[in-house]
Amino acid sequence: MTRKGIVLSKALVHLLCLVPLLLLLRRFQMDDLGADPVNTITHATGNWALYILLASLAVTPVRRLTPRLAVLIRFRRMIGLYAFFYATLHLATYVFLFSGYDLPGVLMALRSGHVTAVFAEWSRVWPTIYDDLLKRRFIQVGFASWVILLALAVTSPLLVLRAMGGKRWQWLHRTVYAAAVLGVIHFWWLVKPGVTTPWRVTVVLTVLLAARILHVAFRRSGPAGRSSAA
């Protein structure tokens, strides 16, 4: 692919990754977020964090199908960063809306210059959040997943990779699998018993993990001494 082609493709991927957010903003503008907008926003950001995380995990197996797709690797980092972006929006929705944080009230207070309202609301909802973190396992696994994505996002620049050294960097970045598994567990643990909505992401994640295990198995039994980047 030409340099120009790469730039154009990257712009396209940026746009695609922003579509879910733009649609959500559009719905907000149209007052079309349903009876319980907090619920709608929580689900939309959480779903897209998972979908995009799975898309970033799909890059390597798809790329291996044919050498002509090798160029896909150039998009993996940005797709991964978008997964972190949506996971962060999801976490922010939990902290600033779901927890009972009066965001509309605080915004109004901010407009009239009362900056302290931000912290007053925070100290009001913090006990609820703290309680959730201590008690609720679906919150714990979800938060753990976000912490992993945060670590990966922070270490994503090339400069950091060079500073860390390839081996250590790669070891750290393999925890993305753990982030995806925790994300899917988070989904299963939050739905009511008997609800099966998370089955689709579970199937996709299973297929992606199986593709990797098969790849490693084949490589081990294949020509000795062949080295390739994972």
Partner: protein, 322 residues
């Protein structure tokens, strides 16, 4: 139709409960349209003679508005599109889309078990059994959101007295319709039909409402048409929808959510801000009303109906009997 009477607690409305003016105005606009449409529909329905007294204001509001709350009401549009009615799908917007297949006529409730004589009550007989009252109740979902809805019905106790249960009846069980043909979206893994139950004294509490309508019109299918119960001091799932059978028993009946996850959903399921759901706190709720964004408010013990119901649970450990 949407009468708001002057409640004695009018003075305690918090500023957070006041709907912003522009939202209120747009709601008023849609309300007027809705009332106009409703009146037209009502006239047509009366001509067809099918909706009984429901659309006739003089009957719908016979006597007075007997119960109300000072909180702003949830717009009908939200109450009719954000539902838990798993037989019609597990997403909140699915019941509104799929419950159209529910046939609400002919409809009858079979009364069985510990009664003087088993009987079958046709829906149109039930509708005329007692005058319908308009009651504005808070409705608190176990999922920590809530609405304020004007229901039309009469006290469940009136029906129970009519059924003449035996003194040995200690509980009453409510079974909802289950028909795979009308409910192709019903997920497997649940022991349908939906079953709920109450202790006899709970069922006889004047607050328990046998409900046929809301917002001065017939219940929409996704809201439990043609007849359901409303128990405002309990989490919403206790208020069984589209009831086809009532059984009086001497044993605590099976209740569907309790069977599915007894650690999450107890038999009593009284609204209690001090007893958490294992996966979230019940101390607060997102109040869905006319405002653009739901605001979070503290949840009240027994959903604010402690004066009327707390006596029934005196001496009970409500953390154990959640």
């Amino acid at each position: 139709m949407l009468i708001r009477s002057e409640g004695s607690r009018e003075s305690v409305i918090r500023s957070s409960e006041i709907t912003p003016q522009h939202v209120f105005e747009s709601f008023q606009r849609s309300r007027r349209q809705f009332l106009a449409t409703g009146a037209a529909l009502g006239a047509g329905a009366l001509a067809a003679g099918r909706l009984s007294g429901l659309v006739q204001p003089s009957v719908a509001h016979a006597g007075s508005v007997t119960y109300t709350v000072p909180d702003p009401q949830t717009p009908l549009q939200k109450a009719a599109t954000y539902n838990n009615f798993y037989e019609f799908g597990t997403d909140k917007d699915e019941p509104a889309r799929y419950a159209k297949t529910l046939k609400t006529r002919p409809w009858a409730i079979a009364v069985e078990g510990l009664v003087k004589k088993p009987l079958t009550l046709d829906i149109d007989t039930l509708l005329k059994l007692r005058p319908l009252e308009n009651r504005v109740y808070r409705h608190r979902c176990v999922e920590a959101w809530s609405m304020v809805i004007p229901w039309d019905g009469y006290s469940l106790s009136e029906l129970i007295n009519h059924c003449q249960p035996l003194p040995s009846a200690k509980y009453v069980q409510f079974l909802s319709l289950y028909d795979k043909k009308q409910m192709p979206q019903a997920p497997s893994g649940y022991d349908w039909p939906y079953s709920e139950g109450l202790r006899m004294d709970e069922a006889m509490n004047p607050l328990a409402l046998l409900t046929f309508g809301f917002y001065g019109q017939t219940l929409q299918n996704q809201n439990g048409a043609p007849v359901r119960i409303i128990l405002p001091w309990k989490y919403g799932f206790k208020s069984a929808k589209s009831i086809v059978k009532i059984i009086f028993t001497d044993k605590q009946p099976r209740t569907l959510w309790n069977e599915i996850a007894s650690g999450e959903y107890g038999f009593y399921s009284n609204v209690n801000p001090k007893v958490d759901h294992p996966r979230w706190s019940q101390a607060h709720e997102r109040r869905i009303d006319g405002s653009l964004f739901p605001h979070t408010i503290p949840t009240l013990m027994f959903n604010g109906y402690a004066d009327q119901v707390a006596g029934m649970y005196a001496g009970m450990n409500l953390a154990k009997y959640y």
